[in-house]
């Protein structure tokens, strides 16, 4: 039971808006101490896990390119392009991106997308511009809301698309775990069952995005 102290520290620390790095490192050390791991071994374990998970930082490797393109007007160009499409709305654009993200992930192409490479430079500015083209300059809160939806669509698309692909890490993890427990299944007979959820979430999120369109229209009104 005592090992749950780390969970409590994380919840309290995040709720009280302490610096997340500090909260996480304190929670990690407290959990390990409660679990009876010696202090020197804790530092070693932290170092080893940190190095093993360096791949998570590779997303930042795109920043030099994205930054250079932003400096030269990438966002502005994307916005100008979308403003010309009369039928474009924030919701419809994000539904289109959701469909693209789910379909490409479902055939294993999870690299089409991402918050640094696609959402910040392209999807979010376009979603904002689609609304601005209809309603004029957007209030700050509305812009933040649209951006948050753009980020959410990227997550939802990849999460509930990728498991349909049989060679995806999660499908292989499920297979390996069941194998260990004496249940032999083909990856296909696991991946297949991800399809109903994929369809359901596309429906749910699309309805929410159409509702977002209506909310924007009611809140901001059509431009005369």
């Amino acid at each position: 039971m005592l090992t749950l102290v780390g969970v409590l520290i994380v919840i309290a620390g995040f709720a009280l808006r302490q610096n997340p790095l500090l909260v996480v490192i304190v929670a990690a050390v407290a959990t390990a101490l409660a679990g009876g791991i010696a202090p020197a071994a804790i530092v070693t374990d932290i170092g080893r896990a940190f190095t093993e998970n360096r791949y998570m930082a590779l997303v930042w490797f795109t920043l030099p390119v994205i930054g250079m393109l932003e400096k030269n007007g990438l966002k502005e160009r994307a916005q100008a392009l979308i403003a010309r499409v009369r039928s474009a709305t924030t919701g419809r654009l994000l539904i289109l991106y959701l469909a693209m993200r789910q379909c490409t992930a479902a055939i294993g192409l999870t690299s089409f997308g991402g918050h640094a490479a696609m959402v910040r430079p392209l999807v979010a500015p376009m979603a904002e511009a689609a609304a601005a083209a209809r309603f004029g300059a957007l209030p700050e809160q509305t812009r933040y809301l649209i951006r948050a939806h753009a980020a959410a669509v990227d997550n939802i698309g990849v999460f509930f698309g990728e498991d349909i692909f049989i060679a995806m890490g999660s499908v292989l993890l499920i297979k390996a775990f069941l194998d260990q427990n004496g249940i032999a299944l083909t990856p296909l007979s696991i991946a297949l069952w991800s399809i109903p959820t994929a369809l359901a979430v596309f429906l749910i999120q699309s309805l929410r995005l159409l509702w977002l369109d209506r909310r924007l229209e009611r809140g901001l009104g059509k431009r005369p």
Partner: protein, 318 residues
């Protein structure tokens, strides 16, 4: 030194450049701390493969203290003025999309290609590293094309990377640190404690209650661990296999697949999945670091209900 190590070294170089530029930025009142933070991070990338884990651990703790006590400060962003960006956008037109789209395209092509390239029968890159290496190569290709096409000076990408890193701030390291937390949770046996707690309160004879406990347990556990992959073995060993499969004769494929997706509903709703939820909030410059989580919660909750029902109606039928 593997190809992946070389890419990590380049990434280290980028962090080192950010550190150096921050050090010379007098507009940032905390420039020394900021330089120290990114400098330490650079070291873990340059030498990560060779440093003893104990030393890396010390560096990580030092980084957390540097960022955690008093923050890093920002200084002038150095962002190009909007009028200038509009002018350049009009000048370059759709050419601007080429380097941006090269990143995903080359990554995908590279991933497919690298899995088939072998040197004397040995694969050039380990299969699990193929996507990472391909991404690294894709960035270098996009960078080269962008520099030539837009006629940029070579230092521009580094200054721009530093601008974006500063706007994200120390949260950039959070996903990696949460992975550390997950590793220590696993070593300390947190998973088993949670599974036991959940398991203690289920009426095992009721199939619907068992399914609900499994699906909701996956989501809750994922929210606590920040990672559905960590939750899956624990919940499936604790509840899924003994109760759904063995006691009620459910289909393990249905249970595993949709159970994992119930976990993903948890991922949508927790700040602990920082790379999906907190990092984009920082990247998109949202004032509320939980802005993305809040938008995702309704979808997460509705879909969790859907997943629970899907398991219940499918798992005993196939």
């Amino acid at each position: 030194m593997s190809i992946l190590d070389a890419i990590y070294a380049l990434l280290g170089l980028m962090f080192a450049a950010a550190s150096f530029i921050n050090l010379r930025d007098r507009s940032n009142p905390k420039r020394y701390k900021s330089a120290l933070f990114w400098g330490l991070y650079a070291v873990t990338f340059f030498f990560g493969t060779w440093l003893p884990p104990f030393v890396t651990g010390c560096l990580v703790i030092l980084m957390a203290l540097t960022a955690g006590i008093g923050g890093l400060g920002k200084g002038a962003s150095g962002e190009a003025a909007e009028a200038e960006r509009r002018e350049r956008a009009a000048h370059f037109g759709n050419r601007l999309f080429v380097p941006a789209l090269l990143i995903p395209l080359v990554t995908v092509a590279g991933t497919l290609l690298l899995q088939h390239v072998a040197n004397h029968g040995h694969p050039l890159v380990a299969v699990k590293d193929a996507t990472l290496v391909a991404l690294g190569v894709a960035v270098l290709v996009a960078l080269a094309v962008g520099l030539v096409m837009l006629r940029q000076q070579a230092a521009v990408p580094l200054f721009e990377a530093r601008r974006l890193l500063n706007s994200v701030g120390s949260v950039a390291v959070l996903p990696q640190l949460l992975a550390v937390l997950g590793a220590l949770f696993a070593l300390a046996g947190v998973g088993q404690v949670v599974a036991d707690l959940v398991g203690r309160f289920i009426p095992v004879d009721n199939a619907f209650a068992v399914v609900t406990a499994y699906a909701v347990g996956m989501a809750l556990f994922t929210m606590v661990m920040g990672n559905a992959f960590a939750a899956f073995p624990v919940m499936t060993a604790g509840i899924g296999l003994p109760l759904i499969v063995h006691l009620h004769h459910g289909n393990p494929g249905v249970m595993g697949a949709i159970g994992m997706l119930a976990g993903y509903c948890g991922t949508l709703m927790t700040p602990l999945a920082a790379n999906f939820n907190i990092v984009p909030a920082a990247l998109l410059e949202l004032p509320d670091q939980n802005g993305v989580v809040k938008v995702q919660i309704p979808t997460g909750l509705i879909l969790l209900v859907v997943n629970t029902l899907l398991i219940y109606f499918l798992v005993f039928r196939f």
